[in-house]
Amino acid sequence: MTSGGVGGSGSFAGSTPARMRLLAIVTATIAVLLALFGWIAVSRRDQALDRTGDAAARLISVQQIRSAVIEADSIATTSFLLGGLEPADQRARYESRLADAAGGLALLFDGQAGNEREQLVEASSTLNEFSGLVEQARANNRQGFPVGAAYQRQASALVRTDLLVSLSELEQQARAEVNDNIASAHQIGWLLPLAGLITLAAMASGGWWLFQRTRRILNVPLTLGAVICVAVVGYGLIAMGDSVGRADDAVTGDLFLADRDSQARVGAFQARSDEALTLINRGNGTVNEQGFQQARSRVDALVNDGIRASTQRDLGNLFDQYVAAHETLRALDTAGDWDGAVALLIGDSATLFDNFSADIETSVTSRAADAQRNLADASSGLSAARWAILIGALSAAALVAVGYGQRLREYR
């Protein structure tokens, strides 16, 4: 914008009223653009946060499926040691976990496309295959056929080398999606302040030009328009900053902890399966004991981490108690008392494990719910901000027109 119309006498565009009209149009247009870009900026952040919420929900679902699968495997493995004397409640729990996994996969399947869809189809069919093998193991076991052990081994191997691997890939994808979306929610932060600054600059320089031309200090509508712009842009920025801040908190707080607890839960069930396998592979379970120790150290790092609130210290204690029972069990088995070790596995050790597992399940469930609720709440203020910016900036455009109109009329 040139500061004066000195050179342009004669032509229409060069005359002061003509320039005034042009300025009015340009400034009002910029204000309208502010309305548009403001709307877009807030909407995009809103959408990015929504996608973050969806990805978090998917992450939580995949983790629930993984936990369900590994618990089902752990129950099937442990029950196998009991042969036909498998307790009814264990059987019921196995079936409900299997149903959870199948149901979870079906829900995840909704709305997925491409590669992920294929992975889910494959995971579903592997889950079916797993449950089929477990049933064959049971049926053979009930008839006293040793081939049941081979079916059980195959079922466990299928879960470990196939199903859990593809589920942990899906989990990693969901985790990456959470990270990508929260990052993109951050990235749109510059659009609104930039649009706001340009609008204010246009209004201010126009006002300055008018002041020089007309020597009138205050143009009320123009000033009011500027104030409204500053107000709505400020409000929008605060709302956007607040939303992304809350989403950050939800991701680094509850979701992070839910993620860790869920990993600890999966690790614990892995350890439990390995523990049973050391006894199934009677005296030859070195590999399984290594597996147990690996899973144990992972769970240990996750539950005794210092991050946990003091109210949840119990979790670490409960796990330590279970690990202590495992040491006793191994000592019994190593000393040749296999029967004693089995009795411990299905007795005290099972109780201790169930205590831990129930506690961590509660923890995962409540944290996951908190994370999802907080993520959903994070963007709750954005809708109002979006409308405020739209209405405010459009009013500012109207006020610009009114303000310049007053001065134009003075030229007639």
Partner: protein
Amino acid sequence: MSTRSPKRLAGLVGAAVLLNLVGCSGDATLPPPELGETATTEAAAAPAQPQCSVADAALDPTRSYEPTEPLPMPGDMPAGSTMRKIQDRGRLIVGVSGDTLQFGARNPITGEIEGFDIDILKEVNAAIFGADPPAIEYRIITYADRLPNLETEQVDLVAHTMTINCNRWLRIAFSSEYYPAGQKVLVRRGSGYTGIDDLALAGARVCVPGGSTNLEFLQTDYPQIEAVERADITDCLVAFQQGQADAITADDTVLVGFAAQDPYAEVVGETFTEEPYGIGINLGQTDLVRFVNSVLDEIRANGRWDAIYATWVGGDPIEPPAAVYGRLPADEGG
């Protein structure tokens, strides 16, 4: 434009801009899982199997060391002997099969491991400890683990439907033969296959456990057959039932147990190899080999072997396989 735009609002906007811009750099992220997902501890690759010389291979592999005469009194093993170490430890540790019906299998109803191999081991246990001996510690091992477990002395004895042969004598020692097994094939009932030659002609898929003599046999004598390898022989029954193999070749002892578990399977043809079973012992523990040989001689003579045979195999009684001796600790492999 007026310079009177409210300062408070400007301050707020400034703060908000800052908040947004600061947000740009410090992304909140979920870290990847802390440690490896699943434990994938693969068993170390088996060392190359040493091969017998042609001259050694021509000799009778079932020759074992002369039996101890007379047997020491149960519960009073000679000082310094391997048996004494076992006695002092308080229990015999053995490697067995957990799923070979009638030879070494865990009875799911009682939880006990039982079978022909197990009863032979119980005789050895009684000879070491006397009447009412302590319980044997069973370690269920796979086919491939049989030799390594003896070599590393994790078990005292292995009775696991194991064939005595020259190559194995290079790594471990054997007792005299305690059961005369032979290789046969198991096929689907009504499949039309009548033996190994049919399967070879058809280029069929035949399941064998890795590390077994059956696998070596297939590879050398029937290369036309597509060998389907599994970790353990029972995994072969699973492969067979799942249609991944047309047949299983294994010792008749094992296959009879399979047919008992699957009414749609049948054992066909004559035995086409001889698989003399022996108890595996660490190569250095010659005294234990002699001791076990004496125990085997005793049960061959006193009718106990026949009783065990009747319990687990049944049918027409057979003569226990004759012991062959004459091996000296120097001629390993011979």
